[in-house]
């Protein structure tokens, strides 16, 4: 069958930011869906968002309430959300209470009542909240199955998109006829993890639609539910072709060591112990980008944006002006129960808004601490997804990571994530002539050649400044406790500089 012969299934907006992408572009029209989850998981709010997004006076929404929360209390609370539009009640959204019929009569009478109201209103959307309370009475399996079957058929025939809301436990997924009949099954979870609450949603099934599998985090704010897709809203995005452009730090000697700068779209890791100047280097990277007309984002977790900008000012770097001009955003992300997906959502929104080319994550340790404990367990996997997604849209990422200084080894990162990064710059302390000095080395550059030199540097009022030539008169520099070599008096060899690429 050709594409044009196939029936076209219209997709309705869910009204939940981020959810349309997860369900494959929108909810299939005339589908019969279940929203399941424990009390407090956001089922009713999700249904309300859908209803407010789709109900019109011509094709209204019928919201049947049954035995659970009374409509008056429900509306009292729901109207606190920003999506709630009182002008839609009662013309476009009609609440009908079925408690009396459910309490006094059987499922046949309930179906009759629903049928009567649907025929009267010709709704585009029907919600039954809570369906679970409706079918809790002892009915035979056949009665229940027949009721669900007839309800689903009737509502689909009347071209209504339906949501049944129910408090179901996950072990009820099996052998429950309602889940067999349903076209879509949305499961909402709310799990305490230490002192944090993590909310996740899963599309267990959605007929006729290519939904994004897996557990997606969501948050409930005064705007209602907001979902964060595991694919960060980049489903179908084709990775940008590799760029040969180089992005400079504005530190001439370092840029030379990097062969002209880091390759655009790379993920760069700056690793070093406390005080080695990782954040200074990161700030210079962002500031140089802005100087060259490349908007940037700094995601900070350990200090406030104002403090970050003030510290940059002490290095002679003006971040306030580009902030005001919309060329730079300093994102402070630390609610302590964050998911990587939410962080990505904030970053991606800002990337789109600013047209950002450079992103600094300062630091990975702070980022990890800002996550809910459950997400920390997946930190590596999450970083992988995040770096892949951001570099895929052409953003160059510089992350700082603190490593414990060791005199027996030379670790690049505490997260075993060096494989995720294209380039690694390692900063460390060394003990030379009774002084604790600093050295820098480019460990790896995936996209090309780089200098093998070990260079001494200082942090001055102008930021990171690389001193002199490469250190040729020491051995064991990376151990932190080098010894003077015999070459100290020898003629200094020139630095081994790699070929320079096209600079930015």
């Amino acid at each position: 069958m050709s594409t044009q012969d196939k029936v076209k299934i219209n997709k309705l907006p869910t009204g939940v930011p981020g959810l349309d992408e997860i369900v494959g572009g929108g909810l299939p029209e005339f589908s019969f869906n279940i929203i399941a989850g424990a009390p407090g998981s956001g089922k009713t709010t999700l249904a309300h968002q859908f209803v407010f997004a789709n109900a019109t006076s011509d094709r209204p929404a019928l919201y049947f309430t049954v035995l659970g929360e009374s409509a008056i209390k429900m509306l009292r609370y729901q109207q606190q959300y920003t999506f709630f539009d009182p002008a839609k009640l009662p013309g476009s959204i009609r609440f009908i209470n079925l408690s009396q019929v459910v309490l006094e009569k059987d499922l046949g009478a309930v179906l009759e009542e629903i049928t009567k109201e649907v025929e009267k209103a010709n709704p585009a959307v029907v919600v039954v909240d809570s369906f679970r309370t409706m079918v809790r009475k002892p009915e035979s399996d056949m009665d229940l199955q027949s009721f669900i079957q007839r309800l689903a058929l009737f509502l689909a025939s009347w071209q209504a998109t339906t949501f049944l809301i129910g408090e179901y436990a996950e072990d009820e997924l099996r052998d429950n006829p309602i889940f067999t009949v349903a076209d879509g099954l949305f499961w909402l979870r709310q799990t305490p993890e230490r002192n944090s609450i993590v909310r996740k949603l899963q599309i267990i099934k959605l007929r006729g639609q290519d939904s994004v599998p897996g557990l997606h985090t969501f948050r409930i704010t005064d705007a209602g539910l907001q979902a964060f897709s595991r694919t960060f809203g980049l489903t179908g995005h084709v990775k940008d072709p590799p760029s040969h452009r180089r992005l400079c730090f504005g530190i001439p000697e370092l840029d030379k060591m990097l062969g002209g700068g880091v390759r655009e779209g790379d993920s760069v890791l700056v690793a070093g112990s406390s005080g080695t100047g990782k954040s200074v280097l990161a700030t210079q990277f962002i500031a140089e980008g802005i100087r060259l007309g490349e908007p940037g984002i700094v995601a900070v977790f350990e200090e406030r944006p104002q403090a970050y900008a003030e510290r940059a000012a002490s290095l002679g770097l003006d971040l306030e002006t580009p902030r005001k001009d919309g060329k730079l955003a300093i994102l402070y992300l630390r609610p302590l129960d964050l998911s990587v997906d939410e962080t990505m959502h904030s970053i991606l929104d800002t990337v789109k808004k600013l047209g950002a080319k450079r992103l600094v994550i300062d630091s990975l340790a702070g980022f990890e601490m800002a996550l809910a404990p459950g997400f920390r367990a997946d930190f590596r996997e999450s970083l992988y997804r995040m770096i892949f997604a951001l570099t895929g849209i052409g953003v160059t990422i510089l992350s700082t990571v603190e490593v414990d200084e060791s005199f027996t080894e030379f670790p690049f990162s505490t997260y075993s994530i060096s494989f995720l990064t294209d380039d690694i710059i390692r900063l460390r302390y060394v003990s030379i002539d009774g002084q604790l000095r600093k050295i820098m080395v480019v460990i790896k550059m995936r996209g090309g050649n780089h200098a093998k030199d070990i260079r001494e540097y200082e942090i001055t009022s102008k930021g990171v400044v690389i001193l002199g030539k490469r250190l040729t008169n020491f051995q064991g520099l990376i151990s932190g406790v080098p010894i003077h070599s015999d070459r100290s008096e020898a003629k200094e060899e020139p630095s081994q500089e790699p070929e320079i690429g096209s600079k930015s």
């Binding site: 409509a71 008056i72 509306l75 009292r76 109207q79 009182p86 009662p90 013309g91 209470n97 009396q100």
Partner: protein, 145 residues
Amino acid sequence: MRELAHRLFAYEVVVGKTSEPMEFPILRIYEKLRQSLSAFAGVAAFESLAFRALTQAKSEAPGLWAVQVAQGGSLQGLGQFEPQIDMDKDLADRFPAGDGGIILIACLLGLLLLFLGDALTLSLLRNTWPDEAFDDRSSENGRNT
């Protein structure tokens, strides 16, 4: 809220027969609210609200002592023991306070406003009295004049 109750009363007086007793328009208002609220929030929810409104109203209008909310939310006993008021005189005076039925309606509307807020209460009233213009932003004052 009392003013809004008076307005509804005036509307129902015009709709009804001139010779009908005072409690008839009040009962019509109450019954319309009962119908629309019960359909929307359930009979039990309406019963609870009505019972609470009646308790509040009785403290202001002792003449309502014999009035009761029956099963299903209907009102019983209104007008049986309450002193009747002079319709022509009180209409001319814009319904002075002291009328138990109007106080009861005002209390019921007050509860709706408390739970649902201005906008939704107004929507509900517009739906129940589609011919009446509730064009004020604040349902407490009813129509702007």
